[in-house]
Symmetry: C2
Subunit: 363 residues, 2 copies
């Protein structure tokens, strides 16, 4: 079983430093899937036609350095994700690469820059890709590869959910379930940095004391198991009512956090680990005026292509990570050739609660 | 069993005309309950102290003419409603009365005016009450007593839900469950009047053909049973996606209507007849950006005390009723002395789906 307590206080960037990368073309390859199905069966490695790797006009040629296997990638390959790419397709939503060549009209990006794609479904699981230069964002080379490669899903989702739905001020309370998920851990740290109190619910588990310690060290104000929540932990601790709820579990555990929200609060769903629908108490909707919403990072990026908010968010998150104020969850780098292992491990580690496996193109 | 097809095409105002009322004080009495519990056991009739029936300054003395027994009144008496009045209390949320005397500072209301209370929990189940003149609204004497006495809950709820959450235009579609509830019938008629198409879901029932005919005559575009909905009636009929959902049932049937909503739609809960929580598909929240809200008429009145919207709403609804464009559901007048019968009938007729029983103070 996966345990998150190993070296829990080490920061990501202590593990991985940017590789001393030297540009090189040869042996371009990519992962593709030609039918939806079980990832280890349908994903295959194939060589890339190097003739397509010429950046035109405003394009750039990127040599990938690292790309994580996220639960969303698994769902895309299985065909259970609502956005289905035309097949055959290259999987991979996130990643970081180094610019190897720029098209004649590219002005703001130079060879050697580190970039992350910020528009979904480009297919990051390949050694090289050519893409429009306005579909990436430069990141400092000093940023760890793992941090850069995992910046656009969990940190951005946590950031937006805390910023966009409630007028949260220092001293306010939020409540979240699935609190030790990758995103949940970022939420805890952002709350701590912004002076917001977080009430964190995790599944009943044998290693509960260790999980509580770990999340408390990250900055959690309270951590309760689902069982403790059902046994009135909120009342027993006389905790102020939260004005924002974040749900990545669904089912009964969505209802349980909705019950404790202040009147007029927002409950945001961004995941459904229980595979059950979201249950909401009728009385919370009618009498407490709770607003129930969903959040999807992809839609936000689509709707905020050139927004100031997007730029501010990246600046702030990158600064926090650079200052070691914000750390991701544990991860393991896996050689690109061993991609099957990364797929298997991601699926066996129970999705969002698992360690992250990151494809490493540098070794 | 209650059947709604009897004389279904008759309008309320054909049944009841305003009584030729002559002011009289004596024998003032009221219903009270001193503990929460089963209505027929805890509600008792008692005489009113006539010394308190003197309107002061901006007050008016109202002699009640008619007051319905609503499901909300039953819940208040049972103690299951979130707003609990201080006991002993007089039940009754809605009603219509005639002004018998006005205080020295009252200017806009005269003796003989018909008025309806529009602020909750005043306790309308009594022959006389003294109240602030700004807590009532004048209604035309030509309006039937039953229509006037039942104006503030169902017609106003239906009106606000259709007006305030979506930008509905003629030709758009809405979907509702519990469509033959008192409020559901008003929703159907308002949609018809405003050129909006309504998809209406009713419970599986033996008299389904009659219910379908009745609701279609009221103006329903489509009427399906829950069973037909689960058997893909929406797809089979190739119906345009609704942009507003109205839920008074909860449980699985909330989820079923959420599934068919257009991206970005609003689903409003205003009742919970199934006694189950509202189930919402996780994917509808995340990927379709469905917004789930609740509506409570009492809150709206509290927040819109002097609003133009409130005045416009009453004007429009009263005009529609006067023009016989809008009819309520079936009802039966019950002598005030026989209030126990009205309580029993309301509880046996399955809450919101039942005929309405209206206390009659004129006979």
């Amino acid at each position: 079983m996966y345990s998150i307590v190993v070296k829990s206080t080490q920061k990501l960037s202590q593990f991985i430093k940017p590789a001393a990368y030297r540009p090189s073309r040869g042996l371009a390859s990519k992962l593709i899937f030609s039918e939806y199905g079980e990832p280890v069966k349908v994903v295959q490695k194939t060589s890339e036609d190097e003739n397509v790797l010429q950046p035109d006009k405003n394009e750039i040629l990127v040599k990938m350095l690292a790309a994580p296997v996220n639960p969303v990638d698994i769902n895309v390959i299985e065909g259970t994700y609502p956005a289905r790419p035309r097949l055959p397709a290259v999987p991979g939503y996130e990643g970081v690469g180094i610019v190897e060549k720029v098209g004649p009209e590219v002005v703001e990006i130079q060879e050697g820059d580190h970039v992350i794609p910020i528009h979904g479904f480009l297919g990051t699981w390949r050694t090289h890709l050519v893409m429009a230069s306005d579909k990436v964002r430069k990141v400092p080379q000093e940023l760890g590869l793992a941090e850069a490669a995992t910046l656009t899903i969990n940190p951005c989702t946590a950031y937006r959910m805390l910023k966009d739905f409630s007028n949260l001020n220092a001293g306010d309370y939020i409540i979240q379930n699935g609190a030790n998920s990758s995103c949940g851990q970022i939420i805890i740290q952002l709350c701590k940095l912004w002076g917001i109190n977080s009430i964190n619910i995790v599944r009943n588990r044998p290693d509960l004391p260790e999980v509580k310690n770990y999340l408390t060290e990250l900055g959690a104000t309270y951590v309760f198991s689902e069982e403790e929540l059902l046994q009135n932990a909120i009342q027993k601790n006389d905790i102020q009512k939260p004005i924002l709820g974040l749900n990545c579990v669904g089912g009964r555990m969505a209802l349980e956090i909705a019950k404790y929200l202040e009147d007029g609060s927002v409950l945001i769903t961004y995941g459904g680990m229980s595979k059950e629908p979201v249950y909401i108490p009728t009385s919370a909707l009618i009498f407490k005026d709770i607003e129930v919403r969903g959040f999807w990072m992809t839609r936000w990026f689509n709707e905020n292509d050139d927004s100031v908010e997007k730029e501010d968010m990246f600046e702030e998150l990158i600064t926090m990570i650079g200052n070691k104020d914000l750390q991701g969850s544990l991860y393991e780098m896996v050689k690109f050739d061993d991609y099957t292992k990364a797929l298997e491990h991601t699926m066996s580690s129970k999705g969002m609660e698992g360690k992250k496996f990151i494809l490493d193109f540098t070794s």
